[in-house]
């Protein structure tokens, strides 16, 4: 069983929901990323989604675009991101790490080399925003062979046939994008999300995590109620931007954001 499946199964057994924060690797600077990952875990993260910076993040709003730019100013490369995961693993072998990014940096490294290095570095899952399963027939088997979970997106526009097909290509969990739009936008409608996620649950046995538009504890709890986990990104990245010159203050600010979410999610269990 993969580390991701293990964690999600354990949570499920306890009636709890996964809290999955996203940050961009190398933001605000490469030497801070590992410490920030530990901060996320201390504040209640179950799984970490670590963004691989890309020059042209087409699916992201301004907040994560700027995070990519900050990381790329320091030349943060995919190879370096894998090095950060390796360092993180030296002191945390429990928390799954999912790399989330765009295809081209992986293609540039070479898919085989990337899959090998990702596995060796302690990465657990790969989510490639611009890689639908239709184009993944070269890449996905390389991940599967190394027991890396391939995580794909579902969206409000995904038809039932595609939900089934995509789930078949996925392992670990599926990521439901809560609304039509880019990261960081406002637009989540909890009732609509509830309906669609319930429907997805009927079509696949995989856990469903929901991301986009979750910025506070109340929304996290509302969405957690109807799903297996919540992904929180732009609000954290925004916090990083606002506190980039003061690591101590940043740590506190991130904790102050995540802690109430953790409590609200755990409140659902009782």
């Amino acid at each position: 069983m993969s580390r991701i499946t293990g964690v999600l199964q354990a949570l499920k057994d306890q009636g709890r929901k996964a809290l999955i924060p996203f940050i961009t690797a190398g933001d605000p600077a490469p030497d801070q990323t590992v410490a920030l990952m530990h901060t996320l875990v201390d504040a209640g993260a179950d799984i970490i989604e670590l963004g691989v910076p890309f020059s042209d993040p087409m699916a992201d709003g301004p907040v994560i675009q700027l995070a990519c730019e900050r990381a790329l100013v320091h030349g943060t490369s995919l190879r370096q991101v894998l090095g950060m995961v390796r360092t993180f693993r030296e002191t945390d072998d429990r928390t799954p790490v999912v790399l989330m990014g765009y295809l081209n940096p992986m293609e540039a490294m070479g898919y085989g080399a990337f899959a090998d290095l990702a596995k060796a570095s302690g990465v657990d899952g790969i989510l490639t925003v611009d890689l639908p399963p239709e184009e993944a027939d070269e890449v996905a088997p390389l991940f599967t062979a190394r027991e890396l979970d391939a995580i794909f997106l579902l969206s409000p526009t995904t038809t039932d046939d595609r939900i089934r097909a995509i789930s078949e290509h996925s392992s670990g969990y599926v990521y439901y994008v809560s609304f039509k739009g880019v990261t960081g936008a406002q637009g989540i409608n909890v009732a609509e999300v509830a309906e669609k996620v319930q429907h997805i649950h009927e079509l696949t046995a995989l856990p469903v995590a929901v991301g986009f538009g979750i910025r506070d504890a109340k929304t996290a709890a509302d969405v957690g109620k109807v799903s297996d986990g919540v992904i929180v990104g732009s609000v954290l990245v925004d916090t990083i931007a606002n506190n980039q010159d003061n690591p101590e203050q940043l740590k506190k600010a991130l904790t102050d954001l995540l802690h109430p979410m953790r409590e609200a999610l755990d409140g659902l269990a009782s």
Partner: protein
Amino acid sequence: MSIKLTDDMLSMLPDTRGHFGAYGGRFVSETLMDSLMTLEREYLRLKKDPEFQAQFDKDLADYVGRPSPLYFAERLTKKAGGAQIWLKREDLNHTGAHKVNNTIGQALLASFLGKTRIIAETGAGQHGVATATVCARLGLECHIFMGAEDVQRQSLNVYRMKLLGAEVHSVTGGTRTLKDAMNDAMRDWVTNVDDTFYIIGTVAGPHPYPLLVRDFQSVIGRETREQSLRQAGKLPDALVACVGGGSNAIGMFYPFLTDESVELYGVEAGGLGIDTGKHAAPLSAGRPGVLHGNRTYLMEDENGQISGTHSVSAGLDYPGVGPEHSWLKDIGRAHYVSVTDDEAMAGFHLLTRTEGIMPALETAHAVSYAMKLAAEMDKDKMIVINISGRGDKDINTVAQLDGIKL
């Protein structure tokens, strides 16, 4: 290495997943997949629909002013001292470039699909103007995304778009040029996918865009083929077109792909010189990667980050290229070469002074290369240059580069 292409082979490209050999495809986030699949299905249906095609042909004739002439450039030919040089006059189209062939087609598609809001990216502003134009004509809401740097250097076209009723969004992310405009257009599309049609301006983007833009632009090559046979009594020996995303070039090349005797030359922007790294010539100096929904030759660094580009012409200032060109390069059917900013400027002045035709700076790249090519060819040979657009929009840039204050 060159293989002989047949109509049968071409009819299978792109394949059902939008691939031209190793290139093309559909690399987008999930939210857009359903729209792209609907667009593909509807387009393949309409492609065979006589009513749709008749409307398209009628619009090209009555609104765009097609066919555009094929003109023998006698003085230019003398100057080059070799092959006969002919000009395919896309600059005479309504709005002044080949771009309108495609926007007419896509706007028609949008209407058939019942979409009421149009978005487009633009570099030089020609595609933006062509899009704003068809939107004005059809009464559609129009949003144009344009890199902040291009808004500066193509201010005339920005104003034209506004006069036509379009809203122009200045894009300040990334390198502030065409690729960033395309990123923001994609972001808008994913947000407003229900009522919005994205009119992509070149043969790039996810499947089916490279297919449908090529089909709409192929009218250039079809006419050129017919006109060559009628006016010169033979097929040309070489075709020359500039390559940004590659739409005017593929439109010219496509109807000639199976004519083995016709050599194809795509001219990329060499900027300050290929070895300076400051250029926009992915086919000449890049390698395959994935950007904007398709796999194709790209300008990127060793870590897979897309490189900044440089060209004197905003319309060529793009780090990628249509996937069909990548395929044509690999199979050796077309040659891809580059021309520097300075050479293009010389080409601009040359065509203006010898023929009284002021080309767009994009087009000037093709003119410059064709002069070299013609000089090496025998006098009984024939070259056609695709004059993709007129130069009015570039007057400010030309004056500035020549050190003249207007």
